[in-house]
Symmetry: C2
Subunit: 196 residues, 2 copies
DNA sequence: CTCAGTTTTCAGATATTCCTGAAAATAGAG
DNA sequence: CTCTATTTTCAGGAATATCTGAAAACTGAG
């Protein structure tokens, strides 16, 4: 591996992590090299830095592109293809989550829905269905939450994440305000006027 | 595989998913069978239902136990070991996230911190560090958020997740209330009295 | 202690995934 | 069109991961 020590350490670790997250080691390493690169790299740059075969790089890049994790950028006066990762790390995470959702969560949800539609043939299947129902509800809750959160501007997102569970305390404040004696009952937050 | 069709479909899908999340297929299947089982199962039950070797079951259970994902439950009048998954699916997810954090996120954070302490030897390393800094900050933000959220009671958690980005609107309400003209300036939510 | 039932270990067999070099395909310049 | 630079494909070899049966280790009853 032809990289400065600091870079090599990162690339090796990232490759290892990749392999625990369902991506093969080399693909993780390719991504890592692109992530920390100062400028767009071409396939041969990756061959040189990682010491792997040209065809391996080609396959790795193809996989990363299918995940929308790397972008192909033209470089003036050079026929070769150059690749980069987005500068904005938040957009990287959004992409990653969206892709995994599309490939793993969505098919799982439809599998669960399908099995929940079936009429259970016996007590065993009936009990299984009740477990699947719990799982289905939880995944729906999480994905609905994410779909909602994902729309926020990065700044608002950071603000929200920084608050963490303190939001729960704000909920209490809200409850006290909108649940005044003699009031019209509990209002949903979306019914409050919105300065957008 | 010796399971009713509905169960088998779930177990197969879950095993497949497991293999995309860094767990081997069989371990995923063992977990799936336990998850939908009506009662605690012993190793031989798993051998029969999955049609795999006794030793494979033993290794799979050992791995699941090391993740705290299955519990060993004694059954009266039976010397064999019986296994279950927790009934509460929320506690399952908490365990899963905590374990992955411990095994993957924490080591990554310390790797990043270590590399950020080093003095960059050249422009390339310097640029790499600035990228690693972004990554480190993002992971810290996310883990701090999770650490905070994780403490909530399940009910509150569900309430919070259900709100999704509507929370952002509550923030605006809060801002309007606490930023009244002539007020004492912005207060943090944690400084409000807490009923609880 | 001995013994039968049960679980764990682990070397080797099997299966899967990954990587490579060679050849084919593609694309732009002239 | 031809020629060259570049990328992609893919069969087969290399490396990993997974699975099994046999043997060892453990455990509680008697």
């Amino acid at each position: 591996m032809n990289l400065p020590p600091l870079c090599e350490a990162f690339v090796l670790h990232f490759g290892e992590m990749g392999s625990r997250w369902g991506v093969n080691r080399t693909v993780g390493q390719i991504y890592a090299v692109l992530f920390i690169a100062e400028a767009p790299l071409c396939a041969d740059d990756l061959v040189e830095r990682l010491g792997i075969s040209r065809s391996n790089v080609s396959m790795g890049l193809k996989e990363l592109q299918s995940w929308n994790l790397v972008r192909q950028r033209p470089v003036a006066g050079d026929r070769r293809d150059f690749f980069t990762t987005p500068d904005d790390i938040y957009s990287i995470v959004r992409t990653l989550v969206n892709e995994r959702k599309k490939r793993e969560i969505d098919p799982t949800l439809s599998m669960l829905r399908e099995l929940l539609m079936q009429t259970p043939a016996n007590a065993q299947e009936q009990h299984a269905q009740s477990r699947l129902k719990d799982m289905h509800e939880l995944i729906e809750l999480l994905t609905a939450w994410y779909a909602d959160i994902e729309k926020l501007e990065t700044d608002r997102l950071i603000q929200l994440l920084s608050l963490g569970s303190k939001v729960a305390k704000i909920l209490e404040v809200k409850d006290r305000i909108f649940a005044l004696p003699g009031g019209k009952g509990r209002q949903t937050p979306s019914s409050t006027p919105n300065r957008g």
